[in-house]
Symmetry: D2
Subunit: 366 residues, 4 copies
């Protein structure tokens, strides 16, 4: 099988780097196009990244030889597309919201599908916000999106914020098993890599916690509702529940977001053993399809009292599994647990690659 | 005024050291007696501590010249008491619960009041568990305790766990202002000093969070109820509410416990502005009495979006104030805030000293 | 005695903040003037600093009410000087070297003495680079500087880089005792606060060391030679030795630079005991004069095998002492030791205040 | 090819765990025997390790099902050997030196080769201390060792301390190229994993550096001399130079020891470019033999000013390469550089596995 040539927009940033590292040996996709801000345009990728590469794993050597394009120049991408060097793009753009909105639409209008990590289009009603195990059916909005906008081959699909990964899949597993969930109160302990580079100053992270991340609590409370919503009348109608309260904190951890969750069921309340069983056995479309980036089990349960821990558990199953521990009753609500997921892999680039794999199998990437 | 000679049991441990540092220049008390485990007995304190002192501040030079006693030998304390070298003891014993129970009772039986940081006697029904701003009246149980046990001058008073300080005073301020509080869901981010020395291994704290501290959640959920209880029929009857759910985490912070709190009121619900006003104006008996260790204001409010932070706020007002920030509505309950207090000062030795000051003024250390 | 009104240029930066904290209760100086970049000019200091104050200690409340001036507007300073609100300035300017060179000269030309932390004028031949215990006599260049430049009351005096404090005073103590020092090989482990705020990204400091700090090794190797130099022919002639090799590293420490030093004597070699004795008894002009900011003992020796440590020793004696430990023979050179000093106090603002105190007593601020 | 069954002594400790993780998919060896302290004997390995496994990578699932033996019972190992379940052992024993000396000899006497990480036998004159790229020929002492002690198949081979890996291979590369090296002054910044678990307390590693590691400086200064020595008269005669001075520090890093090195050549001094060329092209017996654990290039050079960094470079080439950076002249000696190696892989278990591979190819495990 011939690999699909892909591009990464925002290739010099943290998430962009993570995309390149993950795609270095991907069986279906190969990076042939990298774009970033105008000031890096024209440089070889390896030259632009001297002293700036942040990861312990490398991108493919051939990526280092690619010449960076200006991400604002859709023409360059269009040319690459016509020359067979670009099938679709991963967007890891770090710009003002308005600029991202327009730029991603311009790529889509040019016939280039955009699989995005940016938050700009998350609340665009005809753009699906995908977690491949949770709402793979939301891709049904894509033809509607294309038709409404007069796009042929291009479209936009996004993924949600990294902070929700640690509780979104478990929440969905409970709903799928038939248990109504009314309310959640969540406190996150989030890794510094979520803020990119340079990101969080050391003076805020050594011997310290910052109990605030701009915009993060709103995203953590609202994005799950769209993901749990229904495609209806040409738009995705958000679900009405559960109600979520999120306290988001930055802690001195490199990678891996932890979430402490208290959860209230509706009338029907599973036992702790039932909860464990349904988490352990949970499986989704990516697992059924055997997608390359899919974890074998989306949810891994640790029975030790003191797990999950970010440094020790974040890399489980290609860093794509959500690790849960401390599943126990809540004296105020019904259920408590601690969730952990790798924020720049499961919560960002890895989740984006998995979405692309899903879209490929569903036929949207041609 | 002549200073009261005091002793510190467990003087070589972390909390013991903190007591010695805080008492180095105390206007009412002076350390004349130090005791620890048998293996250190007989050594000069400064010799025993070579290479083991953990604090940036020092104990008084004369304490270094004291000879360590065996804390198990109540006789030695009795002798010191008779010689006028020991008016009461601070207990920072780190032993099995049963051993602490008996040993603290033995000191009290010998006529030596025990003001304790240990958890052993927290649930003894006739032992007051004091936060000087919250339940100073619980000391009324002391004469009952003495009578029931046939003790003359000795008694036991304890302080609660360090993890509850960041929300207990705010909770009480709300109750005192007439607002019923039904339920709280709390997540703590606790400093490593809470586990003593050597305590938490570096391999658990660098680039990591441990979402579990043995016994801490139970203490965090239940101790507030005794503190909010009533002296009745010769015992302290715990309050029936609020219900509390606590998630306790260890984070890479040296000192300062942070708590993220969601709180549900009863029928009567104050506005955010009313909450801020009553927190800011809250004052207790220690403030009215002008106790030396009392913070000027028990609760300090920060209006910046990203505060309180442990490294920057823990030392406010002799490290005895609770700093609150992010006071805002909760989409699930009614109120959210972030609380911070210094765990080895406000939450341990400083709280103990403040309790001793209260007991002194109330005439119990006579 | 009436306090001298002083100004702080660069008052919003890390070192500027540290100046304001240290001067909050200074017996001789009071801050009446604060200046920073144009974008903050006109704001009340407390408004400009909301969310930006980095220290656990506060500036004086009256400083919060000062209105920030534009540091580029020497006129404003001149006006303040004429109105008796400004006797001299501490410069903590963070600008391009050329801009600092000119601006500091402009203040001096306007009759306002400049006591600077900036590196711009360190190698200006007629500007003294002062460590008050080491080369207090270099202030003799000031009248020469004033005459050559046609300045009346104004002048410029600077302090050296923070990285050299941990070995410069010990080195001088050896020289003063008559022991020639030929060569030093030094490795520093430097705190992140040395890079200011935001400074070092967390992704470079969590679970990491950065073995490079731009320009730091050259400063660490060369500045000692000027400090050990002689005033001669209207300029300070740098000394010819010792030769120094410095390896400078950034480590995950908030405050406190550590230096591991191997040192080669000339023909005359003291014993380890002699070295300890001369370090312990070392005293300088600031100690003789009893300057307020002077540490009681410039060098403190720790005998424990594992000290000094930044978190535990950096605050010794107002954070102005240099703490030494592990004084022992070197199998390659003659002597080894570990030195520690607080980089933003002894190595920056505290050193600047001490220099100002020296200059005041010497009559230069009269 | 049938795999050789191997055992790990001290299988529950940090280095033991690392052995099991590295051997999980080894092409030549498979773990069939695990032994630890008597209190764990009889337990399934996975049961004994619940809550104690420290690594992000796992051991093979079949290892979890092995039953732990008491490492003091050589009989059990002898039985396993006779049953074909044990060809040789890796020793990661954490005991008193005397106990390790005797126990390793008892295994060897029982016919079981011992490839050891322990320091006990490092200075036994007929025991080779191996870095496979540096002194593979020292294995020639093994027949002499066996004959002198009357051992048939058993023998002891050890590896040096983890702290020397970052400069030992570069040092040897210089010597091999014909450049005499007279003296080195080295400062190490060592990771906490080197102290095992629980190891370094968090209160010593958060916002701190400890400038001392017991016994480490002596090892760092002396072990290179034995490694550079000659087999002569039935013993390994240590080399007479270079003279080494080592300052060893513990820093808040999980894995990866950094060394800042200043080095003096003899009369013949290579240029910086020559040094870089000979480091880059350096290759040893493991590379020539293509041993599975051998890094492709023993020394990797980074040209960026701020590398190597532990978190970003320690895992290069299976964490078996030494990464060098900042190769530059020394103003006091001749050459300076920064070296980095992974202390629990290259410096411990990985180095041990590589030694075993070498010994296998040389026929000693036959």
């Amino acid at each position: 099988m011939q690999k699909i040539p892909v591009g990464v927009l925002g290739a010099t940033g943290m998430v962009g780097q993570q995309y390149l590292a993950l795609l270095a040996q991907h069986p279906w996709f190969e990076v042939r196009y990298v774009a970033a801000s105008p000031r890096n345009a024209g440089k070889l990728y390896r030259d632009a990244m001297t002293g700036r590469w942040q990861l312990a794993t490398a991108c493919g050597p051939e990526v280092g030889e690619l010449r960076l394009e200006d991400a604002n120049q859709v023409d360059a991408a269009l040319r690459a597309s016509k020359e067979g060097r670009l099938g679709f793009v991963f967007s890891a753009l770090e710009m003002e919201k308005e600029a991202v909105l327009q730029l991603e639409e311009a790529y889509a209008a040019a016939g280039i599908p955009v699989i995005s990590n940016a938050s700009a289009h998350r609340w665009t009603p005809d753009v699906p916000m995908l977690i491949a195990e949770v709402n793979p059916g939301h891709t049904a909005i894509i033809p509607i999106q294309q038709k409404a906008r007069g796009w042929k081959r291009g479209f936009i699909a996004v993924k949600p914020n990294c902070s929700i990964q640690s509780y979104m899949t478990p929440l969905y597993a409970l709903l799928k098993a038939g248990y109504e969930v009314k309310r959640l109160i969540i406190t996150t302990l989030q890794a510094v890599s979520g803020a990119g580079y340079p990101g969080v100053p050391s003076l805020d992270s050594i011997d310290n916690v910052v109990p605030y991340i701009g915009g993060e609590e709103e995203k953590s409370e609202l994005e799950p509702l769209k993901i749990l919503g229904q495609v209806h009348n040409g738009r995705i109608e958000p679900a009405g529940e559960p109600k979520i309260s999120a306290h988001c904190n930055r802690v001195p951890v490199v990678n891996g977001h932890t979430a402490c969750v208290s959860l209230e069921f509706g009338v029907k309340k599973p036992s702790i053993e039932e909860v464990k069983a349904l988490f352990s056995s949970f499986s989704g479309v990516p697992q059924e399809l055997g997608l390359p980036m899919a974890p074998e089990r989306p949810i891994i349960i640790r029975e030790e009292a003191n797990r999950p821990q970010p440094r020790k558990d974040r890399d489980m199953d290609k860093a794509m599994a959500v690790t849960l521990g401390r599943i126990r009753p809540c004296p105020v609500f019904d259920l408590r647990f601690v969730g952990l997921s790798h924020n720049t892999i499961r919560g960002a680039a890895g989740g984006g690659v998995l979405n692309a794999e899903l879209l490929k199998v569903q036929g949207y990437l041609g």
